[in-house]
Structure formats: structure tokens, C-alpha cells
Amino acid sequence: MLRLEGVSAAYRGLPALRGISLEVPAGAIVAVVGANGAGKSTLLKAIAGLLPVSGRIALDETRLDRMAAWRVARHGVALVPEGRRLFPRLPVEDNLRLGAYARRGQPDRFAPLSLVFDLFPRLQERLAQRAETLSGGEQQMLAIGRALMTQPRLLMLDEPSQGLMPRLVDDILAAVVRIRAGGVTVLLVEQRLAEALSIADHAHVLQTGRVVMSGPAAAIAADSAVRRAYLGL
């Protein structure tokens, strides 16, 4: 579904991605793991159109490289970014509804709301609250909910576990599994290796901007050499 060929990009003037090639098959959960500064977040930003890249990024037959970020989003690629980037002073409800803004005029554009409330019932209780008043876990739920409101085909998550307590991390990852079951392909960047690999089908290990290993998530999880060499464990 998503295919990257020789993708390179710089972040703040330094080369951060060096010729990345990888594939995300439709319906899969693909994890990208690696140490801090390996280029994981940069990879998601590059796909989302937030960074200029060289190389080729294609979603099925559509070229995404050189496309403005807002167009990439309209082509069905949603990024839940690092730091969540909610609209802090707007109420939860507006944050969610804004996800459907690009589908103005379509009668069923708010249909994903029922899925979002089903996944994260707590959001429904907090609709009138400003996003900035939510707890960290609730903010992460809202960020994922807002992304789902765009009705994406590919959902990219950048460190969804960041700053959350372990129980909430499990909740979020369980939600990711259910989202995939609903037909959305998932590309997941995580620091927490074990948790990410436990729900992923495939995994790619990134080191200083290169893919140094790819394979079934279970195999990578089991490979102690990988863990030592590339993940600093």
C-alpha cells in the first residue's frame, strides 16, 4: 500500500534519512523501531509531507513526495504527531469535528465519531472541555480520535506511549489493534520495543537514518543480537 524507495531527508540541516526503502502492506501493523535520533519521527514527517524529501513515496499509485502536507492528509494518510499537536484552547468536540473538515458537505463525515467513542469512551464524557485540560492519556486518545475523523487509510502514530503510565500504554495499543481490525493500515513508531513488536506484523529497525533490519515482528523481537546492537538494550 505504502512504498518508499530511496527516501532521503534532512532535519534541521543534518541528514536524518539516508536512502530508506520499505513497504507497508495494506491491512498490516508495521512498527519502526530504533534508538533515539535514528530518524523514526523524521520518517513519519517525511511521509506526511512535512519535510522536503528526495526519493519516491507512493500510496498505491499516488506519489506523495512533493505533495503539500494538507494534500497528503486528504489522500488518506493521517499522522498522530509527536507531542500530539491538539488545538489546546478548543473543546474536545471541536478538535474531533475538525478532523472531518476536509469532508465538508458530505453527509456521513461525522460517522467515525461512533468508532472514536467506542474506542475511547472517556472522550465522550469530556466533549465540552478544552483539549488542554485533558490528562496526557486523554490527549493521546483525542489525537488518535482526531486522526480517525479524517477517515484515513493509513494511520501513522509517532510514539503514542510517550509520557503515559504503563496501563494507559496498553489501552492505547489495544485501540490500535482494533483500529487495524476496522481496515486501517497502521505505521507505528515506538521507543517501547516489546510493546510495539507485540502488536506489529512487520518491523523495520532504523539506525542513523538507515533501515538496518526488516522482518516479521516476532523474529525481530526474538533476535537478541538486534536488541543489543541497534536498540541499546
Binding site: 491538539l86 473538515y101 476536509a102
Partner: protein, 291 residues
């Protein structure tokens, strides 16, 4: 000083204040949206006044024709200013803040010169309009019809802005104000939102200009006075706040009228600038500001 005189002055202050409020709302909307102060705002007002004057001279139909035409013109001008100048100024690599200031400042100087060239330096007004030289007598208060009409139309324009802020587009405006990068992640083209924001802000000034020229003289330099008042109003109300602009506009109108009454007319701006200083020292974010 009699109570009737005081009421009369305060009523006129209110009518004038509502026009100030709408001029400030346009400035505040653009600043709140993208942190750019439009230093050509007063010149846009001047342009709207001249445009209404020209439409009046050519057609003689009156304010009912002047309003839609001039408001549309100012909307287009606002969009064009964003697309042609501001978007480029935001894209420069160095000294972005300075470039933003001088690009609108330069535009203002250009517009003043252009008006001087086209219309000459004379003061002009719509002296024979249907609103001119008529008054409403209300409980002994003497209210010029043109100013009453201006106040009512400006209030309606505020209502329209408030309604727009509740639409889906209004929500997108608010989101872009919150995080201009993150809106791209949900498929919102911020350049389009910015351009429409400029269009709206300038359309608001267009409404104010049309109504103002019904009773006030226009000259190439008229914008400077009103722009100064608008900056004071926005600072008092709070940058980016629509309600703040409305409340502050009325306050400034009253303070100006009462200063003229209690001190003397030539000192009428002393009161409002004293307030401006007080706001800067005591509450820099203004009455309703969120900065």
C-alpha cells in the same frame, strides 16, 4: 453641564465607538489569526471610503449599492494582499518579523500616494446622500441619521462575524490560530484559511468605511487617524478577541467624546491614549486577550 448634554455626548460617543469597534475587529481578526499586524489597515479604510464615494458619484443609488460593492472589493483586496504580499513575506528566510512590518507599512504608504494621485488631496464627502443632514430626535437627544445607520450596520457586521465564527470555517480559523502547522495534518490548507481571514478582516473595514463616509470627510490621510485609534482599541480589547474589540471600541468612543466635553475638543485623544498607557502598564494582554 446639563444631564441632557452629557447624555447627548455619550450617545454620540456610543455611535462613533461602534464604528471604531468594527475597524478594530478587522485588525484584530488578522492579528489573532496569524500574528501579523496590518499597518495598512487605515489605508484600507480610506480606500473603502473613496470607493463608496466613487460608487455614489457614479450611480447615486446610495448606501444599499455602496455596501455590497465596496465590501466585496475590500474582501478581494484582502485576499490579494495575503496571496501577493503577506504569503511571500512569511516565506522569507531571514528577518521575517521586520519584513512583515515593512511590507504592510510600505503598502500603506503606496495606497496613500495612489489615493492622492487619483482623487487629489481635497477632503470629500457624500454631502447629498439619503442619510446626510438628517437627524433622529429621541427624548430630546439629537442623533444624526448617518451615524445611527453606521452604528446599526457595524453592529450587524459584528453579528455576522460572530455567526461566521460558529460555522465550520470559523472552527477552522480557530484551529489555524491555535496551531498553524497541525491543521495540515487534518487536510486544512492554512494558506487558504489565512487568505480568507485577510478577506474577512478587510471586508469588516470595508463596511466601516462605507458607513463612515456617509458623515465623515475622506482624504488620502484619513486612514492614519482611524488606524491609530484601532491599534489602541485592539490593545485595550485584547489581540484576537472579537468581543474585546466591541467592548473596547465603545469604551474608546465614550472616552474620546467625554474627554472632548470635559477638557476641550482639541484634546479629545488625550483620554484614549492615557488609557492605552494604562493598559500597557497594568494589563498588557488587554481586557479579553489570551496572550
Amino acid at each position: 453641564m446639563t444631564p441632557v448634554l452629557l447624555l447627548q455626548v455619550m450617545a454620540l460617543g456610543l455611535l462613533t465607538g461602534l464604528v471604531y469597534a468594527l475597524v478594530a475587529a478587522g485588525l484584530s481578526l488578522i492579528f489573532g489569526l496569524m500574528d501579523v499586524v496590518n499597518f495598512a489597515h487605515g489605508q484600507f479604510l480610506m480606500l473603502a471610503m473613496y470607493a463608496a464615494f466613487a460608487v455614489h458619484a457614479a450611480s447615486g443609488v446610495g448606501v444599499a449599492l455602496e455596501l455590497p460593492l465596496v465590501v466585496l472589493l475590500l474582501f478581494v483586496l484582502g485576499v490579494a494582499t495575503y496571496r501577493g504580499l503577506i504569503a511571500r513575506a512569511l516565506g522569507v528566510a531571514t528577518n521575517r518579523g521586520m519584513v512583515q512590518i515593512f511590507v504592510t507599512f510600505g503598502l500603506g504608504i503606496f495606497l496613500t500616494g495612489a489615493a492622492q494621485f487619483v482623487f487629489g488631496g481635497d477632503f470629500r464627502s457624500i454631502g447629498d446622500g439619503m442619510l446626510a443632514n438628517r437627524s433622529l430626535i429621541l427624548h430630546g437627544l439629537h442623533l444624526p441619521l448617518a451615524q445611527v445607520a453606521a452604528a446599526v450596520v457595524c453592529l450587524l457586521a459584528f453579528a455576522a462575524l460572530a455567526l461566521i465564527s460558529r460555522t465550520e470555517f470559523g472552527r477552522a480559523l480557530a484551529a489555524t490560530r491555535e496551531d498553524r502547522e497541525a491543521v495540515a495534518l487534518i487536510g486544512i490548507d492554512r494558506n487558504r484559511i489565512f487568505a480568507l481571514g485577510w478577506g474577512l478582516g478587510c471586508a469588516a473595514v470595508g463596511v466601516a468605511g462605507v458607513m463612515l463616509v456617509q458623515f465623515y470627510y475622506v482624504s488620502p490621510n484619513v486612514g492614519a487617524d482611524f488606524a491609530l485609534i484601532a491599534y489602541v482599541t485592539v490593545a485595550l480589547g485584547g489581540f484576537g478577541s472579537l468581543l474585546g474589540a466591541l467592548v473596547a471600541g465603545i469604551l474608546i468612543g465614550e472616552v474620546e467624546a467625554l474627554t472632548a466635553l470635559l477638557l476641550e475638543p482639541s484634546l479629545k485623544q488625550v483620554g484614549m491614549f492615557a488609557i492605552y498607557l494604562a493598559v500597557l502598564m497594568l494589563r498588557p494582554r488587554g481586557l479579553f486577550g489570551r496572550l
